[in-house]
């Protein structure tokens, strides 16, 4: 739910890797992708689209909080902030000023798995953007004063999104409880005491570890030609030397052998429930069936969970689910906000009953068809902007291993059967495999006592 951290907060989250494509889209290939791997190992994907005079440029680095260690949790995210705070040619503050003065804007986000840099700009700013990106990949500097003030910014971000946000707080506790071995157990933003104690050396080490060009994928979508992008890459990016990528994350989370429960007591108007189930990583074949199952359960007001919890029984204000793109086995999270004076456990019970129903009886043909249609429209929604497309192409390339999977998604979804849906429901949504986090309003509890 809060696994994605942005340099500045955004309205639109391109978090859900919604995968669906049509044969129409795949066949027509209206916007073909050109690719090239630079001599230093960075792969570049370009998709021209001249419908607006703008460009979206994304750089995905395969480094995130899963590559961190206790004591320096949150370092990837902090580093993401530092990537805007000065390099050799563009000193502290220059990057943003120069970019905005040329009509551009930027942001960046960090997840458990990746750190992604985003630039949006008019075509005229293209050479400048490459100069800026090359400068900071090659020659980032670490100004102690900037480290000190940025540390405060990140602390404020944490207070905003975790300490003063019920959803953020509960989400953090859920991951910390569901994972006991794997590095998904700590928050992307980091524990507050780690935020306070990172050192300059930690930052330098992180840069050396994660920021080799060979550890990155660049995606450019918009008012460009592949030739001009490849030329700019040859000039600005290719000369940057490559080095060793981050060491592999070898820890495997052991199978969960029984339900885990946790409670957070906090002043609040309403309770909140999150239930996390361990599921496979993004490139697992179960991915498609799992998405179809989640559509049937959670997508739209005709979905089973909405009908049951929000509409018929009126137990919850809303109910939803999410799975973030992940390199390693991750969590499918169900979130429900119980209505005033509804016992959170009544919500929980209804959720489990609906899960049992999809396990014990096959879904209908109509439901399967509906889920496939929904995935298709969602795909179009992501593909209709140069920004959404840059993110989606990059996400497929990085998490599925090949952007071409984008064009196979229609086929992969059409192959999902009712049996598949039932099978993944049984495989993942069991009591032993779940962690249940509940936030109970403190004031209400006191009143009850």
């Amino acid at each position: 739910m809060k696994a994605i951290w942005y340099r500045f907060a955004v309205l639109l989250l391109f978090s859900a890797l919604s995968l669906a494509a049509t044969q129409v889209w795949a066949q027509s290939q209206e916007f073909p992708v050109s690719t090239r791997t630079l001599k230093n190992g960075m792969k570049v994907l370009v998709q021209p689209d001249h419908s607006i005079p703008n460009v979206a440029l994304y750089i995905f680095y395969r480094i995130g909080s899963r590559n961190e260690h206790p004591g320096t949790t949150g370092l990837s995210h902090f580093f993401e902030h530092m990537m805007f705070n000065g390099a050799k040619k563009y000193g502290p503050g220059d990057l943003d000023k120069v970019m905005e003065a040329n009509g551009g804007a930027n942001n960046a986000y960090t997840t458990q798995n990746v750190t992604v840099y985003q630039d949006w700009f008019p075509h005229s700013a293209l050479p400048l953007i490459y100069d800026i990106e090359a400068d900071r990949i090659r020659d980032l500097t670490f100004d102690p004063k900037k480290i000190a003030s940025e540390r405060e910014v990140v602390a404020s971000e944490r207070r905003l999104s975790v300490d003063n946000d019920n959803g953020g707080l509960l989400d953090e506790q859920l991951w910390a409880t569901a994972f006991i071995a794997h590095t998904y157990q700590w928050p992307v933003v980091g524990w507050m005491s780690d935020i306070e104690h990172w050192t300059m050396d930690d930052l330098k080490h992180h840069f050396e570890m994660g920021y080799s060009p060979s550890n990155a994928t660049m995606v450019v979508v918009g008012d460009v030609s592949p030739e001009e992008i490849f030329q700019l890459c040859e000039k600005f990016i290719e000369p940057i030397p490559s080095h060793a990528p981050p060491p592999p994350v070898t820890t495997v989370e052991p199978e969960q052998l029984g339900e885990r429960r946790l409670v957070v007591h906090k002043p609040a108007e309403l309770p909140l429930i999150m239930i996390g189930y361990h599921v496979a990583q993004t490139n697992d074949p179960d991915f498609y069936a799992l998405n179809i199952l989640r559509s049937i359960l959670f997508q739209g007001e005709s979905s089973r969970m909405y009908q049951r919890l929000v509409d018929k029984d009126q137990l919850a204000l809303d109910v939803s689910s999410s799975v973030e793109p992940a390199f390693d086995p991750t969590l499918a999270i169900i979130v429900a906000q119980p209505r005033q004076s509804v016992d959170p456990q009544a919500c929980e019970k209804a959720i489990y009953e609906e899960l049992e129903k999809v396990k014990s009886a096959p879904i209908s043909d109509q439901e399967l068809e509906k889920a496939k249609n929904s995935r298709l429209v969602e795909f179009y929604r992501e593909m209709r902007t140069i920004n959404g497309r840059a993110n989606t192409i990059g996400t497929y390339e990085v998490f599925m291993g090949d952007y071409n999977k984008l064009f196979d998604a229609a086929k992969n979804y059409s192959l999902v059967t009712k049996d598949d849906v039932q099978r993944v429901a049984k495989k993942y949504f069991s009591a032993n495999n779940r962690t249940v986090a509940t936030l109970l309003p403190e004031n209400e509890e006191k009143a009850k006592r």
């Binding site: 907060a9 129409v24 005079p53 930027n106 404020s156 906090k266 108007e269 007001e301």
Partner: protein, 475 residues
């Protein structure tokens, strides 16, 4: 809520331009061609065919919004909109959802201060079904009693849930404190007391009085055949009986005089959320483009004066910004940020210093050039999708702004000079008359923030309503 989100919101909320300069040729940015027709029943229809992905977006604007809610029944316009899909002459709420979800369509309906908006999106191949569903909700809602009770109870819990997020309610308290009993001061989604007073009869009356073809503008954008679209619109919306509707007028309010401060106590807050401002401008204000340029420099982007001072240089916050939320009558101007309890007054002091500096120093030629490039460079992605375009042409039509709002944007931005910027600062950026609203831990920050105003008000966040306290709101 901060930088990126804000900027997008700014661009979306107020595409404000100015009739200062004559036409300049060679504009690079223009609205795609579109046509306007008025059906026999008085419905204004705007059609824009657009290549891209095979989606169609429909956006209907009913020219009555939350500002028309009767005092004490705040939320009426929103609830009415929310119930449109919850039962029609031919479908139950469940059937509507099932039909909509089956085609992967989306549907949304909500009321803002000035108008109600209803939107839908579906695939081109589902045009007939999608348009029929959309028109069914707008033309034939039945407002079943059970669904009405359900949505009112859910909305009430929704207000409570929102109060768990200080940032989400800061604007509501601010507008309430700024506008008082004026319609723009009322919470458009209602509060814990007003939602209990709304009855089905009032909803029916509101619908009958305001949902009429002559009071509605309908925009459609996306991949479609124009002839087929006209035919389908005639079949659906053409059958909507004409009705006379009294037009809703909103009176302008003069800016607040002097300084006053409202402190909303949230005892567990470790961070103070603050808004400072006054009443700003109307959506058609002739200064709107120049204001946008100056505000970009002051608080409308990452390198703005406010964000530079409060985030980049001092590390007080994750984000600081300012915006003009322009409406039919003058809407609010607001500076907003948040900081930990300990740095509450240093951060507010700094925000005020940045404002003073703007008045003292104006803007540099370099800042002006940068802001112009930034606005022009970031504008095209706000008009990229058929959803954005359908909304844009309908809202501009409603406010009487016309295509020049987009087509002349670049020329109007370019026409803003340092001298004009100076006048804009004097006229539109308040310095001595300011309204402060803070949400935070009153026992930690209360004594220190008294210095900002002579008039101080305070109430707990858990008390029902926002501001002014509704009758019977004391717990």
């Amino acid at each position: 809520m901060t930088r990126k989100g804000q900027t997008l919101r700014l661009l979306a909320l107020f595409g404000l331009l100015l009739a200062l300069c004559p036409d300049v040729p060679a504009q690079s940015l223009r609205l795609p061609p579109h046509e306007k027709l008025v059906l026999k029943n008085g419905l204004t229809v705007l059609l824009m065919g657009k290549r891209g992905v095979p989606l169609i977006d429909v956006f209907a604007l009913v020219k009555t919004g939350a500002a028309a809610d009767p005092a004490g029944q705040e939320g009426l316009a929103s609830i009415t909109a929310g119930l449109l899909r919850k039962g029609t002459k031919s479908r139950t709420a469940q059937q509507f959802s099932a039909d909509l979800d089956y085609i992967g369509g989306s549907f949304g309906a909500d009321a803002g201060a000035d108008f109600t908006n209803i939107s839908a999106e579906f695939m081109t191949k589902d045009l007939a079904r999608g348009l029929e569903l959309f028109s069914d909700a707008v033309l034939h809602p039945t407002f079943p009693q059970s669904e009405t009770e359900k949505i009112l109870a859910q909305s009430l819990d929704g207000v409570k849930s929102t109060k768990d997020e200080p940032q989400a309610v800061l604007g509501l308290y601010f507008e309430g404190y700024l506008y008082g009993s004026h319609p723009y001061g009322r919470p458009s989604d209602g509060d814990e007391l007003s939602l209990k007073r709304i009855q089905r009869d009032a909803i029916l009356k509101f619908y009958e009085a305001n949902y009429a073809p002559g009071n509605t503008i309908l925009g459609v954008a996306g991949e479609f055949d124009s002839g087929e679209m006209r035919k389908k619109l005639e079949e659906t919306f053409g059958a909507w009986p004409a009705r006379t509707v009294a037009s809703a007028a909103v009176t302008a309010v003069p800016p607040s005089k002097g300084k006053k401060l409202l402190l909303i106590d949230k005892p567990d807050a470790t961070q103070t959320y603050f808004a400072i401002g006054n009443i700003g401008v109307a959506v058609n204000d002739p200064d709107r483009v120049a204001i946008r340029v100056v505000n970009t420099i002051f608080g409308g982007r990452f390198t703005s004066d406010l964000n530079e001072a409060l985030r980049v240089e001092s590390g007080y916050t994750y984000g600081a910004r300012s915006f003009f939320d322009s409406r039919k009558a003058p809407g609010p101007f607001e500076i907003a940020s948040f900081t930990k309890n300990e740095t509450t007054t240093p951060a507010i002091d700094l925000a005020l210093q940045v404002l003073e500096k703007l008045h003292k120093n104006g803007v540099t030629a370099e800042q002006l050039a940068s802001a112009k490039s930034y606005i022009k460079g970031q504008f095209p992605p706000t008009m990229e999708t058929s959803g954005q375009l359908a909304r844009r042409i309908v809202v501009d039509e409603y406010y009487g702004l016309g295509d020049d709002e987009v087509n002349q944007l670049e020329a109007r931005v370019d026409a803003v000079t340092s001298a004009i910027a100076k006048q804009i600062i004097e006229k539109h950026f308040p310095l001595d008359n300011l309204v402060f609203v803070l949400i935070g831990n009153a026992s930690a920050i209360g004594p220190a923030v008294k210095k900002y105003a002579d008039k101080i008000d305070q109430r707990p966040i858990s008390d029902p309503g926002f501001w002014p306290p509704p009758a019977g709101a004391q717990k």
